[in-house]
Amino acid sequence: MVVAWNAGLIRLVSTPRVVITQLSRGMVFGQPGDVAQQHRILNKALELLEQDAPLEPAYLDEGIEESRNPT
């Protein structure tokens, strides 16, 4: 089971179960301090482990909030 942010690369290696977010390198499980987001991503990954593979990638609409990570 892989949790990833870079859909292009991870699809190349045909992983049997993968969760793909819209986050970035360095925060694969969610934004710093965003416990709810981290739990959502982690729970989705764990949920996929209970399903027979191979599975289509699970794309999560989990991204970066500027207010949490100002540039």
């Binding site: 089971m1 892989v2 949790v3 990833a4 690369l9 991870i10 190349l12 290696v13 045909s14 992983t15 049997p16 179960r17 390198r25 360095g26 925060m27 694969v28 499980f29 969610g30 934004q31 710093p32 301090g33 416990v35 981290q38 739990h39 982690l42 729970n43 990954a45 764990l46 482990l49 209970e50 399903q51 027979d52 593979a53 191979p54 990570n69």
Partner: protein, 182 residues
């Protein structure tokens, strides 16, 4: 009919010998000659086959966390060679109960700002412990497997890193693994 496609032995890196030959003649040779890492000529691994696997009952299973964020026990384990252009193919293990203040991260290929502020963005150890305590994970594997994810030689990953990870996983009687690339 086999209900799980590609069941049985499947290559982790398809056509590894050919991949390795192209890697050595291409990206690696260029790096050694020029001192420059040219990612435009890097032959990214591509697999066409996906292994079929049955689902598990997570509440009765042992789960292993594998992280490529470059975490290690500060002051007790040797840091990874994060600056090496050729990568570091060693692994570290540390108890899943390790407090975050005991960990450091040695990996030059991602911005550490996020993991410095909240290590759970890469290593959700406390979250996993809570899920285990709630009964939704049977048991966490006692150790986390950690490595530094900058490893351009994918053949070495197959030949060196993965067997070591598998050995640890088998010793800990693991049923499933959660891999968090960084």
């Amino acid at each position: 009919m086999d209900e799980y496609p590609n069941k049985g032995m499947i290559e982790v890196l398809e056509n590894k010998a050919q991949w390795s030959e192209e890697f050595r003649a291409g990206w690696l040779a260029h790096r050694k000659e020029t001192g420059i890492s040219n990612w435009r000529i890097y032959n990214r691994p591509v697999n066409t086959l996906t292994p079929g696997l049955p689902g598990i009952k997570l509440s009765e299973s042992r789960l292993l966390l594998i992280s490529s964020a470059g975490a290690y026990l500060a002051g007790r384990q040797k840091p990874y060679d994060a600056a090496s252009a050729y990568g570091d193919y060693s692994i570290r293990t540390f108890p899943v109960s390790t407090p975050f203040e005991a960990l450091a991260f040695a990996h030059d290929h991602y911005d550490h700002d996020f993991v410095d502020r909240d290590p759970q963005v890469a290593l959700p150890l406390r979250h996993l412990e809570q899920i285990e305590a709630d009964g939704n994970i049977g048991r966490l594997a006692p150790s986390v497997i950690s490595f530094m994810g900058y490893q351009p030689d994918s053949a070495r990953v197959v030949d060196e890193v993965i067997p070591e990870i598998v050995s640890h996983a088998q010793a800990d009687n693991v049923h499933a693994a959660l891999l968090a690339p960084t």
